[in-house]
Symmetry: C2
Subunit: 435 residues, 2 copies
């Protein structure tokens, strides 16, 4: 048995409750768990009924009592939101405590500020739970894949939207109906905007990108499309063409180098070929695919949220800090691999330069020659097409669905402009990405 490590919790909700549950029941887990003492826990309301039993001396409504407690070595921030989370994290660091947080919103926006404070104080800030729930992805990216030149990180990193998309695909149900049901079942929040508008996925992919490529980009400039405008018919047409639709988050380097390194980060509903490893990721599961040289392609798959899985990730971070503290005694210098940090400037690439495949659907007249004209405009713009299919022809008109080969955003936009000005085309009805 090694030295005891004091843990303080900010928040005892879904995740905090799961963490407390593990710390209070160390049996059958890694023996280091038994060396962790839960010292102090801050909540808003001490009288709220909880699934874990804690003595009154442990609970407090004043979070500063947690971050200032001299017996607390590691502060776990699971309150959520930007403030007071950010200030409490910085206060804990200033007090020489390491921090573990599940808060992607604060890390995506204030990561560099927090990381440099941690570096100055010689403490760790670990964030395994902030992306992918229980899936180990942060530490593998920092530690296990460091020998690679990473080219792309992509994945399904929001469980709520993946649950909705899975049900839309399986049942042919409409977005709004599935959302309402998901809210009833507790898989979606009363205010679902952060999930369905893609903001949560955007926070997470910007965190993964910073670790994979060594520098942050402007989080607020990240092109983000959620699923709230996604129509059931596009899910159905995609299925007929051999694809599933997933809310995909991508961070990739553009061809070539550049200083700062130009990256494309984006979140958008994307067609995934049905034999692609990400296509089988259903329900609230998440999966992250990392592509690099020389490793090729590795995928990490598992439960993307929930009390147990997220707590598993939080406890992993606490154990990492505890292990190093037991090895190096009190405050030693910080392992650069575990600490991570920026090592080169990165920047969002010009959106016109981003290359990918596209799925588009037009409403058109049901007249001979329309497919030819649409195809011709793509050709004129230098966009080569993989398939062009007419669906649902009737007196009211027809729908033309096009899947392109990989092409720059610039050329696609030029083609779409030319096509939507055709007399026979009444509008662009859908525009999704495609793997």
């Amino acid at each position: 048995m090694g030295a005891r490590i004091g843990v303080g919790l900010l928040g005892l909700g879904t995740v905090g409750g799961g963490v407390a549950e593990i710390l209070l029941n160390p049996e059958e887990r890694h023996p280091l768990v038994a060396d962790l003492d839960l010292i102090r826990v801050a909540v808003r309301n001490v009288n709220r009924p909880r699934t874990v039993e804690l003595s009154d001396a442990v609970l407090t409504t004043d979070p500063s009592e947690v971050v200032n407690d001299p017996n607390v070595d590691v502060v776990v921030e699971v309150i959520g939101g930007i403030e007071p989370a950010r200030s409490l994290i910085l206060q804990a660091i200033a007090n020489g405590k390491s921090v573990v947080t599940a808060n992607k919103a604060v890390i995506a926006r204030h990561g560099p500020e927090i990381a440099s404070a941690a570096k100055a104080a010689g403490v760790y800030v670990l964030i395994e739970a902030a992306v992918g729930g229980g899936i180990p992805i942060i530490e593998p990216l920092k530690q296990s894949l460091g020998g690679n030149r990473i080219n792309r990180v992509s994945g399904i990193i929001n469980g709520t939207t993946n649950y909705i998309l899975t049900r839309m695909a399986n049942e042919g149900a409409a977005y709004a109906d599935v959302l309402a049901e998901a809210q009833r079942l507790g898989y979606a929040e009363a205010d679902p905007a952060a999930d369905v508008d893609g903001l949560d996925a955007a926070d997470k992919i910007s965190i993964l990108s910073a670790l994979a490529f060594g520098g942050t980009v402007d989080r607020d400039a990240l092109p983000t499309t959620g699923i709230s405008a996604l129509q059931g018919r596009d899910v159905e047409y995609a299925r007929q063409l051999g694809y599933g639709v997933k809310l995909l988050a991508v961070a990739e380097r553009l061809a070539g180098q550049g200083d700062p390194l130009p990256l494309s980060l984006r979140v958008q509903p994307t067609l995934v070929p049905s034999d692609h490893p990400l296509a089988g990721v259903n329900g609230v599961n998440n999966a992250i695919l990392v592509e690099g040289d020389p490793i090729g392609r590795v995928m990490f798959y598992g439960p993307g949220a929930g009390a147990g899985p997220t707590a598993s990730a939080v406890v992993a971070d606490i154990l990492n800090i505890a292990g190093i503290r037991q090895a190096s005694g009190d405050q030693g210098p910080v392992d650069p691999l575990l600490a991570a940090g920026s090592w080169r400037p990165c920047v969002l690439a010009d959106s016109g330069d981003i290359r990918q495949r596209h799925y588009v659907r037009f409403n058109t007249e049901d007249a001979p020659g329309v497919i030819g004209k649409v195809g011709g405009r793509f050709g004129d713009a230098g966009v080569s097409i993989q398939s062009i299919v007419q669906f649902n022809a009737s007196e009211a008109g027809a729908e033309i669905v096009v899947i392109t080969h990989e092409v720059s955003q610039r050329k696609v936009i030029a083609a779409l402009d030319a096509i939507t000005s055709l007399d026979e085309v009444s509008g662009l009805a859908a525009h999704l990405g495609c793997l």
Copy 2:
């Protein structure tokens, strides 16, 4: 830039060459890679042409020059086999050097001896590349999943056999034909026994088991069935019933506790339902599924062998050691989480107690009532059946395929004994596991 770390290589073959390639080309990788110096490399034949260019001063045919070189901080053992690998690893440890190895054979057999030598010397022995090629699985098991009570680790951890099984399934080809082709293409060794007899997978699952459950079991007592007796017709019948056939390695705790903790480890061809995450793992890819509480189920997927992926894993381990050395200066005490080690005694469970589903095929007379008799004998033995199907009825006889529900090995064996003594049954033609 931190302190420089000297690396010595034992072996410059497939894996060693890949490692040298990364060390000599640090650009675009984690910045710590640039702090690694390749000091000394042992091979058998210095005149063999190599893809990496090394000066004559670096190459040697005397491996003791690597493990005794005072400028070498980390020794990478990628020679393979038991001796001289084991002795060289122990010599390096005795000299106060940390060791990185991809050698599952030596770790599965001499892991405890090596681990205790490392502990006594205060150095690390890291083995990420020994299981799953480039897939990060060792460090996640040691570090990221430590908050869990692990219940089962299972997976496809031999690329050669998975390549053969994938081609058998896709092409309806016979085992011997595919093996010959795989040897021609370099996916199987001239002597394929270690792979096709399941011995390599058995080495690897015993390593994963030790990390997941905290103690080793008797490697040589591990029930191991390879794929060399697998018949194409069983792959085909499995497909018709909705399953793929994979060479699955499993390590699981039996229900209840016990001291020492009883575990079932086994390697056997196993039916995997086609919607199971492992069913889509094809070709030389590997995947490892970890099940625990509270995490649920996470899966790690990627290339299970090859120069690049395996070198990626070796370099990850070197970086881990380099990071800690840079943080803690020369020789500090060792981080218990990164070091791992046994923490409780484990033992192989009585094979009769192992519970799983089974697939069996009998050759029988093509006569009315045989299915009823076979089903009846299962029932008498307390084995409940999920499906019983007759294939290929003809004058020469019929085949009856049975898939059971989960049941103890003891009951299945009693049922099979009773069935094979029936007059109408000429023999047990196949017996596989089933998920």
